[in-house]
């Protein structure tokens, strides 16, 4: 028997493969393809205090091996999520991690408070990194002090495990990682999207309504793997790695770099069955390599 189970931020998962926030809705769509209980965990769409309409279309642009998005956190608001989405998703045997986002410290605190003790919620992923929503012109996650303040605020209001989701749009990712660890984060998610832009050369206009957007997909994978490796050496808390994962090989790369779990994001669009294929592929690879426990892989990259 091969062990695929790991523990991240105190959340026990039967396998290390999750689905990344914003690419999996609240699970309903992909429940039409497979049994969601097969997943390690589900990180649901970014949730805010009030309902949000998001940005006008076009919200997507395709780029080589990736895509840019400027959805702008369209969501029904935390109360509707608690009332309609979490109870529905709770029918599955899978930890639900709610991704939250705010305009101010108070908003982050208030959403965390409302989600505290809600049946079925296993943890909070704090999005301090959405490139499409800014506070004073800056994402919260680009300045260590501000990132730490957000984490401290939600820690204060919630007994749930807190996962800080960091922005890759910074000079030194380890500085932010150390700041959120010191502020009490139980784990770190890496990476959110990279700020990018695409121009339609025929019309000479930006493709996205918001001009700039967040890049994700296989194109960002090397950046993500590098950041996971850097952060894994800088902090003691576990890391959930993401950024361009579409195959088991991709996922194993993240584990070797130091991630304890991984999430499939845009890969769901590439292949709606991608998360299952990643789980099956990891299992097959471990068998082939005669490795009994997936935890042996975590951080096992050889650097001599």
């Amino acid at each position: 028997m091969i062990n695929l189970a790991v523990e991240v931020a105190g959340i026990k998962v039967k396998n290390p493969v999750m689905t990344a926030s914003g690419t999996f809705g609240f699970g309903r769509e992909y429940s039409k393809f497979y049994n969601l209980s097969l997943l390690g965990a589900i990180m649901v769409k970014g949730t805010t205090l009030e309902p949000r309409l998001g940005n006008p279309p076009p919200r997507l642009a395709e780029t080589p091996a990736g895509l840019l998005n400027c959805i702008g956190l369209q969501n029904p608001g935390v109360d509707a999520v608690i009332k309609e989405e979490i109870p529905w998703l709770s029918q599955y045997d899978v930890p639900i991690i709610v991704n939250i986002s705010g305009h101010s410290l108070e908003e982050y605190g208030e959403i965390a408070l409302r989600l505290d003790g809600v049946a079925g919620v296993a943890g909070l992923e704090i999005n301090i990194s959405c490139p499409n929503v800014k506070h004073g012109g800056l994402a919260f996650g680009t300045e260590p002090q501000m990132a730490a303040d957000v984490i401290r605020t939600v820690k204060d209001k919630s007994k749930l495990p807190i996962i800080a989701k960091l922005s890759p749009n910074v000079t030194d990712i380890t500085e932010i990682a150390k700041a959120v660890e010191a502020a009490g984060a139980d784990a770190i998610s890496l990476i959110n999207t990279l700020l990018g832009m695409a121009i339609d050369i025929k019309t000479r206009r930006p493709v996205l309504s918001n001009i700039v957007g967040g890049l994700s997909g296989p194109a960002v994978k090397p950046v993500a793997v590098r950041m996971v490796w850097q952060v894994a050496r800088a902090v003691k808390i576990p890391i959930i790695g993401m950024g361009g994962i579409v195959s088991a090989e991709d996922a194993i790369e993240f584990l070797l770099a130091g991630a304890s779990a991984v999430a499939v994001g845009a890969g769901n669009f590439y292949d709606p069955l991608a998360p299952l294929k990643v789980i099956e592929g990891i299992k097959a690879w471990l068998e082939q390599e005669k490795i009994a426990d997936i935890r042996e892989l975590i951080g096992a990259v050889k650097i001599c």
């Binding site: 914003g22 690419t23 999996f24 809705g25 309903r28 769509e29 992909y30 039409k32 393809f33 769409k45 309409l53 998001g54 006008p56 279309p57 076009p58 919200r59 997507l60 642009a61 395709e62 780029t63 080589p64 091996a65 990736g66 895509l67 998005n69 959805i71 369209q74 997909g217 296989p218 579409v246 845009a266 769901n268 669009f269 590439y270 292949d271 709606p272 069955l273």
Partner: protein
């Protein structure tokens, strides 16, 4: 309403076999797939997300409407226009090989037993999904006006199908190389002025759709329009493909073209100018 493009309990993600893939016009191809499970469930107006390459480029699947649905034979026909890298890659796929698709997706066209005389208005590659619709409407005993528009004769899709099926076909081309010179909306205006239409169905470029919505609104004829938007997932999860609609209470909101559409009633859609 009969045959609602319903909320599906299961969506298929399959490798399907290509039975045919041939050029039908200078820019257009027709691909026939063996996909019994999809053909058994699909309704006109729905679409597939098609994987156009085995590699990571292009990364996203392409939405292509079901042009014909043959449940008995278990086949689906796609008609696609070559506009960029994805559709170009589709042109070199050979019969006998496999192509990955997800579907059937979205909510299709609907019709009511009360409707007697209807018109379909199609432009460019928007004509493709109207073939399956016309087939169903005629089977349901409706009198169907098929108003088809294209830039020129060599860009006009499927007119022969509509004639074979038994629709009353009227054609307009921008350059007058075939049928009437002008826009398909002029044909619609004539039909509206001479016939009592119970329903209009529209699929085509945005300016055409806008004009059809305006005309049908003024004539008080109910109208369904199929919309297009850039898609990421095609299944309703990414919120990439939204369009602006009027909600039941009258406020403005976004709906997902892939999941709540692509077919909408014209009274709910809002066009920004």
């Amino acid at each position: 309403m009969v045959r609602r493009g319903r909320d599906l309990l299961m969506v298929y993600s399959l490798k399907t076999r290509i039975l045919e893939n041939k050029k039908i016009l200078p820019d257009f191809y027709e691909m026939v797939l063996s996909a019994p499970a999809i053909a058994a469930e699909a309704v006109p107006g729905q679409f597939l997300m098609v994987k156009t390459s085995p590699t990571l480029v292009p990364f996203l699947r392409r939405p292509i409407s079901l042009s014909r649905i043959n449940a008995e034979e278990g086949t689906i026909t796609l008609v696609y226009q070559v506009v960029g890298s994805g559709t170009k890659l589709m042109t070199v796929m050979t019969p006998g090989s496999e192509i990955e698709v997800v579907g059937p997706l979205g909510k299709g066209f609907t019709w009511s037993v009360k409707d007697k005389v209807v018109a379909i208005v199609g432009g460019g590659c928007g004509i493709a999904p109207l073939v399956a619709l016309t087939e169903e409407l005629l089977k349901a005993g409706k009198e169907v006006y098929a108003l088809l528009g294209a830039q020129s004769r060599d860009k006009l899709l499927s007119d022969k199908y509509f004639i074979e099926l038994g629709a009353k076909v009227m054609i307009a081309t921008d350059d007058g190389s075939f049928g009437r010179k002008g826009f398909v909306t002029q044909l619609l205006e004539e039909v509206i002025n001479t016939t009592r239409l119970d329903q209009v169905y529209c699929c085509g470029p945005l300016p055409m759709t806008k004009a059809v919505v305006k005309l049908t609104k003024e004539a008080l004829v109910p109208c369904q329009v199929s919309l297009e938007e850039r898609m990421g997932c095609g299944v309703g999860a990414c919120l990439g493909c939204v369009c602006k609609v009027r909600s039941e209470e009258g406020s403005l909101t976004y709906k997902k073209v892939c999941h709540d559409g692509p077919v909408f009633t014209s009274s709910e859609v809002i066009f920004d100018d």
